[in-house]
Each structure stands twice: as C-alpha cells, then as structure tokens.
Amino acid sequence: MTAVAPGPANITVMDLARDDLSQVNQDLQKADPRGGPFRVLNPRGAHALACGLTSGIDVEIEGHTGYYCAGMNQAARVTVSGNAGVGVAENMMSGEVWVKGDASQSAGATAHGGLLVVEGNTAARCGISLKGADIVVKGDVGHMSMFLAQAGRLVVLGDAGDSLGDSIYEARIYVRGKVASLGADCIEKEMREEHRTELRDLLERAGCDGVGLDGFRRYGSARQLYHFKAENLDSY
C-alpha cells in the first residue's frame, strides 16, 4: 500500500502529489470493502483514476479528474469533489459515481448499471450508447446526449442540447428544462404513472430533495429506425 497517513475514523489518505497513479489504482482495486473509506488528494487531472474497482468501497476524490475517472466501476461509490474529464464512469457496471462539479463529454458512456450523478452540467454526448445505467444531471446536458442509448434512464433537471436521443433504442429520458432539438427517431412520449414512479425514485436516489415532478417531459424511441420493415427489403 502506498497509502499512509490514515486520517480520522480510519480514512486512508492517498496523495497523487506524492503517490504513483498506477499504485493508487492497484491499491484501490485490491482494497477490502470492510475497511474504511479512501480519500484521494491532488488528482490534478490525472487520467483513469479509480478505474476498474470491484468492491463496495467508498472513494472520495478531492479535486478535478482527467479522462475516464471511475471507468468500469463495480460496486464502489466514487465521489469527485470537482470537475470530471471525458468519459467519467464509462462502462460502469454497478455502484455509484457522484460528480460535485461539471462533467466533460461522454459522461457515463456505455454504462451497464449503477448510478451516475452530476451536480453541475455535462458537455456533449452524455450517456452515449448507454446500456442500462441511470444518470441524473442536475444542470444541463450538451448536444447528442443519449446517442444510440439502448437501455437505462437519463434525468436532466436543466436543459438538453441539440439532437437529444438520436437513434435511441429502449432507454428513457426525462428532461425538466428546454430541449434544443430531438435527434432522429426520438420523440416526446406520454408520462404515465409508472414513469412518474420511476422518475420519483431516480430523483430521490440522486438527492434531489424538494424537486417535484412538475415540468418533466419524457422522451424515447419512436421505434421507426431500428425495426426492419419488409417494404424496405429492396434497400438491402
């Protein structure tokens, strides 16, 4: 273990101003979930920090992270007290990734499970090719968010950029603010009771206290693009 200087209440402190990034990642990957939480200082925009974690540990990162932070996460709860670079929580399988600031492009890309919460805004392509995870963004999301998303849910408390949900499959999108434009085959859909229940649950899990369901609209696939149609046979 590179980790030294245990803090109060058996917190293990790792400092990237001093500790090697690969070693910190390996130590986190081997960490015993019955132990205390980990605090990572001075991330300084390092790439692939806290990637590939497989146990239910708590990791608090104090500062801004680089590309692919908490990628491939399983079971761990990773908090970034700062902004996250490109591809935060990409390909997450389970667990929770919580960004206190903004997230860059492709937040939660291809994630299969777990919850990604972004307190600020995300840049373009949030939830691209999402495969089952849930994403809650308390600010705005950039253009082409949920492009090709197959399963999972995205909740946006602010606005969404152009081409939301382009070529979407069976993922669901809830937006409270304005949608600049919808992508190909993405349409607004009726908000039924099951959707209100699902949205209420997602807001609660993301700590959106006092946020009502009023104003939220639901978007999803028109299912015109991905079904094979016999009359289009000549095109193949």
Partner: protein, 301 residues
C-alpha cells in the same frame, strides 16, 4: 491528437512570470504531442514605427549579420538583432513585410516565423521540454502566450509545419483537429486575395483566413465567428493578437478544451492537467468552452 495551451495575463504585475507559469503547461501536454512544439509569446513591444521579425534558420551557426546589413542598406533602416538559439529576432524600422521578404530570400533555408510589434514565435522539432529549454522559455516575460505540442497527422514533421501559424501582423493561431475544406479555401485566398502559403498545412489556411478577416476590419472575436460559416472540419482554435486572446471550438466539439479564469489570468488547456501548476487554480472558475461559441479577452474583441 495535439496539445494546446494558452495563457493571457489580466494582471500586468505578474508579466515577469509569464514564461515560468507557461512552461509547465506546455510540458504537461507532451504525451498529446511529442513530435514538435511551438510558442507564440507577446512581449517587449517594438518602439513606434518599428516592427519585430522572428526568423528561423536550421543551422545554429548561420551568420545573420549580412542579412541585417542588407536590411540597413536596402531600406536605409535602423536594425537591432537578438539571437535566441536557431531563431533571430530582428527589430527594424523598415517596412516589415518587405523586410520579411528580404530575410526569406537571403537563404533558401531561412523561414519567417512571425512579424509584428509584440509577437515572437519559436518552434522546433522534438519534445516540448527540450524545445522550452532550448529557447529559455521559462525566463521569458510578457502579456500572453500560446503554445502547441504536435502529433502530426496530415503533413510532415518539420519546423515549418509546427504550430503556431502566423499569417498577419501579430496574429497567431494554434489548432487541434483537421480541416476538410482547406484546399478550396487556400485556392480562394490565393486567387482572390493574393495570399501566399508556405506549407500544405490546413492550419496555415485557417490562420490566413482569420488574417484576411482582420484586414477587412473584423475584430478577432468576429473573425472567429466567421470561421463557423466558412471552415469545415474539426477544430479547437486558440488565437492571439497584439493585445487579444480568443478560443473557438467547432459545433461538434470533438477536440477537448478547458478554460480557467481568475482575477489574474485566463488559461486554456487541451486538458485540465495542463493547468494544475498555475497559482490559484484550485479556486479558479474552470469550465469547458461550449461548441460553436467564441470566447475572447482583451484587444478590440
């Protein structure tokens, strides 16, 4: 890939630290661009009626004295020179464009890096850290600087093909990305506006386009807005003028960009890690520039 960094000081009292603040930013972007590096630095304003020409010759022992003498004789001009490794800064009151032509014609391997009242451009092949050491970047003072670390994709690794590109007085442009309509635009600028190109590089065309817009009286801010309608392709641009600094990303925004601002400076990096050595960065406003939005500071912008 490629790395871009930029630093624009809002507080004049820290201008003596520009090089020291800027050098680690450039070096941090080494793994985005290890082929070559270039720096445009704005400092030491030329006196009125004078201009600075930064010229390059690959031979470190090249004798610049006959070139300076030729400018003195040809233009009846006062000439001062200051050598910095393979580059020479020539200060004179000759017509800057005519003097630049004379310098370029003096030897087939001589290249003009920049012309203007405050700009100096230095570029070399090799790792950014080596290039910074070679020109003693860390000790340089100034108001703003723009740097580039290059991983070449569409033209050769040469000093001339390195960024920044400068095609107008005190103008510099660095670019991460690739343009798809640079051939037709180069032709248009050449045929209709008589612009001359030194390389096959797409960024040189973008720099020439911006210079042409500035010549038509557009501000740097407006000239970058014009790029949105006339340039096709992927780009994150950082541009500098004598007293201005601006940033633009294409509407798709594939290429990364981070801005940070404090009371003392505006800083740009391809990635956040390029900015971590700056004083007060922990408390700076840090954000990702929006696609197709021009951000500008200083100048007439």
């Amino acid at each position: 890939m490629c790395g871009i960094v930029g630093l624009f000081l809002k507080n004049q009292s820290i201008e003596d630290r520009l090089g020291a603040m800027f050098t680690p930013m450039l070096i941090e972007m080494t793994d985005r661009g290890p082929d070559s590096a270039g720096i445009a630095i704005y400092h030491d304003a030329a006196p009125e009626r004078f201009a600075k020409i930064t010229a390059f010759h690959p031979d470190p022992d090249f004798d610049w004295e006959p070139v300076c003498d030729a400018i003195r004789t040809e233009f009846n001009a006062t000439v001062e020179d200051r050598r910095n490794d393979s580059h020479m800064v020539i200060l004179s009151d000759a017509d800057p464009r005519a003097a630049a032509r004379l310098i370029e014609d003096s030897d087939p391997r001589t290249q003009i890096m920049s012309v203007g009242s405050t700009i100096e451009i230095y570029k070399e092949m090799g790792l950014p850290g080596e290039v910074a050491r070679q020109f003693k970047l860390e000790r340089m003072t100034g108001s703003h600087a723009v740097g580039h670390t290059r991983m070449a994709t569409e033209s050769a690794v040469t000093t001339a093909g390195s960024h920044p590109f400068s095609t107008g007085l005190d103008l510099c442009l660095v670019h991460n990305g690739s343009l798809s309509n640079h051939n037709s635009l180069r032709e248009r600028l050449h045929d209709h506006e008589g612009m001359v190109f030194a390389t096959e590089n797409d960024t040189e065309v973008a720099a020439a386009y911006i210079a042409s817009r500035l010549d038509k009286g557009r501000t740097l801010h407006d000239a970058l807005e014009d790029c949105l309608s006339d340039l096709d392709g992927f780009y994150t641009f950082v541009a500098g003028t004598k007293d201005g600094f601006a940033v633009l990303r294409d509407p798709i925004a594939c290429k990364p960009a981070i801005l940070a601002e404090t009371e003392d400076y505006v800083a740009f990096g391809s990635e956040y890690r390029a900015l971590v050595s700056l004083p007060g960065i922990e408390k700076a406003k840090v954000w990702e520039p929006e696609p197709a939005v021009v951000y500008s500071w200083g100048g007439r912008a």
